[in-house]
Structures are given as structure tokens and as C-alpha cells.
């Protein structure tokens, strides 16, 4: 894409790169792959810069069906290639490692590191969200992240492999170090069988949640990505009753309606009370409450996941609301023995401080693994360790620019 073309496309998307489905009426593409690359030892900034440029140009051609080694294929075959890659979008992001002067000699970047672009701590990324047991190394940190989204699984997978081919063929000083796949469910539910991603912000407010300020200058109009590959202990989850599950999530399992309160059985067990189901044509308030349920005043419902993750329930214009734009994808790795599955938690936000606050603050998600009260009273759902971090990292997603996003921050030799 030329600079002019990029400028033309910024009317509704600002300077945000493609691959973030925040525009009106747009749903995230259902297929996902994240490819992480590290610069080779001793690579020069110019060589890494040129490598990223070559990848970016190749991927732009791929999105219109131009496969490098199939140049000159018959027209009908070219049409098939174009169809395969239609809707393929890639996003280029820079990890903490790219700025690490202890890792890179020569230094690759001549620009300030954004303050909150930090490594996830080795002793546990967050106080209540811990590393998976037996995890030896965090494979989610890298110099560069390439996010692929598309309508077809083959497109995102082929795109990743085309990057590998290019690196190999051109002997570029970048090497793949990890890759993570994911898919979206059309029914809006996740592995827990609850509605997920329902609570999000009005389209008109999303850019305010996404667009980074000019601190540092080179990130003005870009955004930040948090990637956490979260494994879910589905076996433990399924030992809970529906009522317990709903109290931990904060929604009715079947309708997706937000819980508005609780009542107690004779035994003292808490029973969730959901908002009444909306009719054929819900009024504005009913609809708004379904999409983004109001802050409850029931102390137990306040401890549920949906309320802990979005406590204040204000718009992104209120910075303390700590809003982030989530675009997660499920994954399934294995079913032998215990299922190995989970969620690629992917969020984009104007400032990574938001993620740190949400995942460190007691009362938000800093003191429970998923949801529920920290000290369950009689009849309250008990704490479970449902979610662990298999891999993760924070990434700066520079604004669109020529010759590729963030190109200007590479050191000049």
C-alpha cells in the first residue's frame, strides 16, 4: 500500500493498522495466527529494518493473491489464490525485546521505549494470573509480532509460512521463534459456553480507547497490544453447577443477560438473578444493559468476572474506566488426557497501563484468578484456579507510516 493509499484509508481508522476490527458493523475475522520473530544475533538495524520492509511488502501482495513462488500461474489459478487470501490482514508490532540493549549488539532501536512496554515478570505475570505449571520459558515475548487475521484458516497459516519462506530465501536476519493459532466462534460464546466479548464499548468510543498519545512521539495514533495465551481448566470448570458458573461469570448462561442480583436458597446458597429477557424489540436501555450491563449494587455480582474486568463501566473517555478493546480467539491444542485449550486474550488499548491496572488492582482482577469473592461466604461460589498463562507479551503497534509502520525508529548506522 502506498503512502497516499494509506492516507486515504485513514478517514475512519485514523492511523491504526489493519487487523483491529473496531469500525462500525465490522466483526473480527474468524481466523487468527500470531507469528513472533527475533532478530538474528549481531543483525544490524538496517538489515532488520529491510527485513521487516520485505515482509510487509510481501504480505501486502499476498493479500491480493500474489504468492511469490506462483508468479505467472494461469489466470484461473491466480483467481483461486486471490480468493484464498481475500480479507487477509496483517499487523506489525514491536515487543519489549526489540528495545533491549542487553540482547541486541548492535542496538537496533534509536527511540524511546514506551514506559509500559515491559517484559512479563518471570515469577508470575500478574498476582492472580500465574504462569502455567512446568512452563520453562515464556515464548510470548519477541522482537516483532506479526498478527494475521482472515476469513480462512488456510490464509493465516499460509501467510505465516510465506514469511518463513521469505526469510529463508532472502537470508533475512529474522527468525521465527513462536507461533500461536486461534479461531473465533460465530455464536459469540467461548469454551466456558458463556457469551464472551459481549461487553464492549460503543463503536463511536472505540478509537478513544485505542489511539495512543504521542508519548513517545513515534507512537502517536498507534496502539498497544496485549497478548496472553490463557489455558482454561475446562475439567475444573465443569465440576461447578450452572448457578456457580453464572455467579463467577456474571451472566445468565443461556441468554447472556447480565446478572442484576442474587437471592438465597434455604440452604444459604446464592442463586443468580438475571435481567429479564428482552422482548422482540427491546428498548434502548434494555439493549444497552445487555451489551454493557450497568454496574451492579449486589456485592456478590460485583465480584463476578464481567464486573471485575470492567468495574466502572464508563466510556474510554474516562481514563480511569480502564477500557480496552478485546479481540480474543479460542484455541485447541490437544484432547488427550485433559483438554488443552483456552483463549488467546488479545486486547488493544491506548496505554498498556490499563492492562496492568486491571490485572493488578485488588477488586478488579488483581486478587482473583477469574471471578468471585476473594473470601467466599457461606453459599457463595468458591475460588477456583481456572486460567493460567501459557505465553504472553506486550507489543507496541506503531501507526501506519512509510515505508512500514514504525520504520523510523530503527537506528541509523
Amino acid at each position: 500500500m502506498s503512502k497516499d493509499e494509506r492516507d486515504d484509508s485513514t478517514v475512519s481508522t485514523g492511523l491504526l493498522q489493519r487487523g483491529i476490527a473496531f469500525e462500525q458493523g465490522r466483526r473480527p475475522a474468524p481466523c487468527y495466527r500470531l507469528l513472533l520473530l527475533n532478530a538474528a544475533n549481531g543483525a544490524t538495524p538496517a538489515a532488520v529494518h529491510d527485513g521487516v520492509l520485505a515482509i510487509d511488502e510481501m504480505l501486502q501482495r499476498l493479500a491480493v493473491g500474489e504468492v511469490r513462488e506462483l508468479a505467472g500461474q494461469p489466470k484461473d489459478k491466480a483467481t483461486a489464490s486471490a480468493e484464498l487470501f481475500a480479507g487477509l490482514e496483517h499487523l506489525i508490532a514491536f515487543g519489549r525485546r526489540l528495545f533491549d540493549v542487553d540482547v541486541h549488539d548492535p542496538v537496533l532501536i534509536d527511540a524511546s521505549r514506551p514506559d509500559y512496554l515491559a517484559y512479563l515478570p518471570a515469577d508470575g505475570p500478574f498476582p492472580a494470573l500465574r504462569w502455567e505449571q512446568d512452563r520453562a520459558v515464556n515464548t510470548g515475548e519477541a522482537d516483532i509480532a506479526l498478527q494475521f487475521t482472515a476469513e480462512r484458516q488456510a490464509a493465516v497459516n499460509c501467510a505465516a509460512v510465506e514469511v518463513w519462506k521469505l526469510l529463508t530465501d532472502e537470508a533475512l536476519p529474522l527468525e521465527p521463534v513462536a507461533s500461536f493459532d486461534g479461531f473465533a466462534r460465530h455464536d459469540g460464546r467461548g469454551w466456558l459456553e458463556f457469551h464472551d466479548g459481549v461487553s464492549n464499548m460503543h463503536t463511536s468510543q472505540r478509537r478513544a480507547a485505542l489511539e495512543a498519545p504521542a508519548d513517545p512521539e513515534w507512537m502517536a495514533g498507534g496502539t498497544y497490544m496485549a497478548f496472553l495465551r490463557l489455558t482454561v481448566d475446562l475439567a475444573v470448570w465443569r465440576t461447578l453447577s450452572r448457578a456457580e458458573q453464572e455467579l463467577l461469570v456474571g451472566r445468565d448462561k443461556l441468554s447472556g443477560a447480565a446478572l442484576v442480583g442474587t437471592r438465597r436458597e434455604e440452604s444459604g446458597a446464592a442463586i443468580p438473578v438475571a435481567a429479564p429477557r428482552s422482548g422482540e424489540e427491546p428498548d434502548d436501555r434494555t439493549l444497552a444493559d445487555f451489551i454493557d450491563p450497568p454496574q451492579t449494587t449486589d456485592p456478590l455480582v460485583e465480584t463476578s468476572h464481567v464486573h471485575r474486568a470492567n468495574q466502572v463501566r464508563a466510556s474510554p473517555a474516562a481514563a480511569a474506566a480502564l477500557r480496552m478493546f478485546r479481540q480474543g480467539y479460542e484455541f485447541l491444542e490437544d484432547l488427550v488426557g485433559r483438554p488443552r485449550l483456552g483463549l488467546n486474550f488479545v486486547s488493544f488499548q491506548r496505554d498498556l497501563a490499563v492492562v496492568h491496572h486491571v490485572l493488578h488492582l485488588p477488586g478488579w482482577l488483581g486478587d482473583v484468578n477469574f471471578g468471585g469473592p476473594t473470601q467466599a461466604g457461606p453459599g457463595d461460589p468458591q475460588q477456583i484456579r481456572l486460567v493460567s498463562v501459557a505465553a504472553g507479551g506486550f507489543y507496541a503497534v506503531p501507526p501506519v507510516g512509510a515505508p512500514f509502520p514504525g520504520a523510523e525508529i530503527f537506528a541509523r548506522e
Binding site: 462500525q24 449494587t297 480511569a320
Partner: protein, 401 residues
Amino acid sequence: MNEPGGLDELGDAGRAAWTRRVEDGIAEVMTDLGLDSPHRFVLSAPDERTRRRTAIDWPGLPLRPVECLTRHQALALLDWTPSGSEGHIRRLQEEYVEWRVVRDDVGIRRVEFTTELSDYWRVLAAFDPQRTLDLVASFAGQPSVDPQAVYRGCDPFSSSSTPEEREAAFAGAMLTDEDPSPYNDGRTAITCMAQRTNTLRALVQLVFVATNPRVVQDPLSGRIRCLTCDEAIPLMDGAAQAGRASDPVLVERLIRLAYEGRFVAFDDPLGVYIQSVESTRLRTPDDEPVPGDWFTFERGKTASQTTDGRPRWQRVTFEPPDDSGLHVSDLVDVATEQPIRHGGQVADLVQVALVLRVSDPDVEPPGTLEPTELAQGVAENALRCPDIRLQWDDYLAEARQ
């Protein structure tokens, strides 16, 4: 009206005066707003209709300077007190929490925060000078305090001094921007909030003006929704400041409560409370987590001492113990990988909350609402950045001297 933080130090006369202070503050705001009848949604005091509690919380780091400058510039500016006592006490610490940084030759020894309202301290100073002086001395780590440093131009123990005179003398020393007492400007101690907008009146005004079920038709979805803070604050005639951490979330939450048809009242005890601290973000130079008890909470109640399980602290001091051999400035925030160099970095870990009492929804249905006519365009400088940039220039000028 109980004392903020559930304290019990005023005595009968003082407590009656505190109750009057709150009532008068509310009445004055209603008069200023031209309300000759009770507010439709805001009650002057909680009653049987407002059985539920809800808290609105925000981080203590002032965001307006961060937005107007860079984060590093803002952190430096927020700790700065102009030499010669010019300017205003903690002028930019405007999130209903204020702090001072205690440094020694090595680095930062400790950081002290307070959310105590000056309105309460005026009453305490008026009615119990000995308690006032004892508390100030304890905040300063001194055995006693010269009364003149706290009650300028007044002998608070004279039989002829009246509560009004003692209050005025206290305010003239501790709450003034002109030659403020070192016991509240941060040099020797921080006693209570002194920033101009961190007051009971400002809080009351914000709540009374914001609690209004204003709606608008969303420009993209076409749906009716509540106003955002950016849309509402320009209509509030200065009762809230855009770009802060506190005011925007308060405004949006209050609009929403009115939209849901709820009555709203300040919780009793009224106050601004330190609800929690992100202590887990801090590490020692050996990469060990900082123990939570390096934060000392005071002037309030633990979660187990309150009926709703929310802690209500008004003062917190962060200081590594002597036997650790560490200073605050030796510690690192893992979220930024940066050592603590400024009080604002710790303020960013402090979560402050206002607790409200509310009724069930639809007790006072707002009825059919017409979309609000919004101010034309967002004000060019809703954050009032030029003023902050001028202060940054002053800071730089002094730093160069």
C-alpha cells in the same frame, strides 16, 4: 453524620459541627445551582430508600499533566513545590489524593498520601486543638508541634479563642497558598488535602450537577445512550474537569445512576477513601516482591470493620522498613521496569474511591428523555494544557538555576 473514615475524635460538639458543615455545604451548592426544591435524584443524606452501596474508583496519579506533557515530565512536575512558596500547594495533585515525598541523601525514604478533607480538619482544629496538634506531630514524626505553626496568629488554648477563630487560624496556616505551614505543604508533613479542588464543596457540586439522566443519540449506532464524560462535562459549568482520572468516571457513573432511576446520596461516613494499592507491581533490587505491609494504612477502617467489606483508609505511608536497608527509590515497578523516582509513580498504584448510597433502579423513573443538545465540538482545550505547560516552564527555569 459520622466522621470520615469512621474516626471517633471530634466529641459531641465537634461531631455536630461536622454534620452542620456537610449539611451547609450541600445547601450552599443547591443555592448556587438555583435549586429551591430538593434535587430530583440526589438526597441530602442517605435514608431507607438508599439501602445499597456502590463505589466509584480511580488511580491516584493525576492524568491531566500526563496528557498535557509526557509522563516523565508530569511525574517530575507533580512532586515539585516552587521555591519561595509561590504558587499553590500541590497544585496539580487534583485527584482527591495528595502526597509528599520524603527524601534523604540516598534517595526517596518514603511517600505519604492523604485523602482527608480539609473541611473535616477545619472542624477538628476548631474543636480539639490538642488532638489536632498531636496528630500533626505524629504525621511529622515529632514529639510535639509549635501551635503557631498550625494556628497562625492564634493561641488555640486561650480561653478567649473561639472555634471560629481557631478554624480561621488553622486555615490561615495549613490551607493557604501564601507562606503555607511546613506541616501541610510537604516540607515537614502532609496533614490533609489542600489542593483547591480537592474539597467537600467540589465533590458535592460535582455530584449534584452530574446526577442528571442525560442521553444522546449515538452518532454511529443511532441508539440512545447516556452521555459520555466528554459530552457531559462541557455542559456542567465548571463542576467537573475533563482529563482527570476522578471527575470523568464520577460524571459518567452519576449520569447512569440517574438514567437507571436511582436515588443517590453520599455514604455515611462521607469521605474519599484509599481502597487498595497495587503493591504487587513493586520489586526489590533482588527482584523479590515488596511485602504488602510496607504500606501502612491509617485514619480509617479495614475491610472487616466496615459493613460492606470495603476498606476506608484516608492515609497511607509507603516506606521500606529500616532493617530492609532499602529506600523507595531502590524499588522497581515491574509494569514499567523503572525505578521509583517520583511520588507519582507510587500514586499510580493507589486506588481511591468514593462510596455512594443508591436506591434500587426505577424508584425514580427518569421518564421519556429527549436527547441532550451537545456543546458544539469538544472544547479546543478541555484539559487546560497551557496552564500546565506554563508550570512546566517554571519548573524547568527553577531546575536550571
